[in-house]
């Protein structure tokens, strides 16, 4: 094991498509980030971004289906945390979301989740999974708060 991989952690869990599971998965991610050495602000940003993503998976992806799971994979090293959240839904298009900062959208009730994920994480990528599902990958590097 190289130095860079020392202390590396991998977690893989499947959760029901419920809001209670969102809380449970968020708590797991927060605990993992804390254990990996992220500071309190970073932990808060990671858990918020993960929560927004988990809510999307449960609400828009799996639509609360009791037959579908939300899969959460977490990898941490001393430098970064990578979180992959995958649903089993029909997919939802995030490419043409309205800009929540535009004057005409400021007072909209919803539409800020993806924006917040981008604000709080260093990387965000999404891809559709065959035959069903959306996989979202979030990455945050340690000690880059001042850049965000």
């Amino acid at each position: 094991m190289g130095t860079e991989r020392e202390g590396a952690v991998k977690i893989d869990r499947a959760f029901d498509s419920t809001l209670e599971s969102v809380d449970e998965a968020e708590a797991l991610i927060l605990e993992t980030a804390a254990t990996a050495g992220f500071d309190e602000d970073e932990q808060h940003h990671i858990s918020m971004a993960a929560r927004e993503c988990l809510v999307n998976a449960v609400v828009h992806g799996n639509r609360y289906s009791a037959h579908k799971k939300v899969h959460v994979a977490i990898e941490t090293t001393s430098e970064r945390i990578k979180i992959v959240i995958t649903d089993e839904g029909e997919g939802f298009d995030l490419s043409d979301l309205p800009d929540p900062l535009a004057e005409e959208n400021l007072l909209r009730h919803s539409g800020r989740g993806i924006f917040l994920i981008r604000a709080f994480m260093d990387e965000l990528s999404m891809r559709k999974i065959s035959p069903h599902g959306t996989e979202v990958t979030l990455v945050k590097e340690r000690g880059r708060n001042e850049d965000k």
Partner: protein, 110 residues
């Protein structure tokens, strides 16, 4: 969530998490109730709010527009640093009137 009447201003003390499935529905119901009862001066005290997500932000915005549409005012009191940061990131800090002092906030409704 607790309501207090200070003169003609309704102060709503909100605490804990305002997230989808928890506090956000409670906040939505409380705001609807206040608007339905004709309250037009509402001060949301967020000093004990520990966490707010995009759903919670959405409820704050909806409450603001509902009260405004009724000719009333909704203002915010005692934002924690994290809530303040969130409102700044989403450009909502300039939409809401925010106060740090309750007495001054109450007077501002006059």
């Amino acid at each position: 969530m607790n309501n207090r009447q200070v003169g003609d201003v309704t102060v709503v003390d909100v605490s804990g998490r305002i997230t989808l499935g928890e506090g956000s529905s409670e906040l939505r119901d409380a705001m609807r109730d206040l608007v339905a009862k004709g309250n037009k001066k509402i001060l949301l005290n967020l000093g004990d709010v520990t966490y707010i997500d995009s759903s919670g932000i959405g409820e704050l915005v909806s409450g603001f527009t509902s009260v405004s549409n009724q000719g009333g005012q909704l203002k915010l009191l005692n934002l924690t640093k994290r809530v303040k940061d969130l409102l700044q990131i989403t450009k909502l800090y300039t939409v809401f009137e925010v106060h740090d002092d309750e007495a001054a906030a109450i007077r501002s409704f006059a």
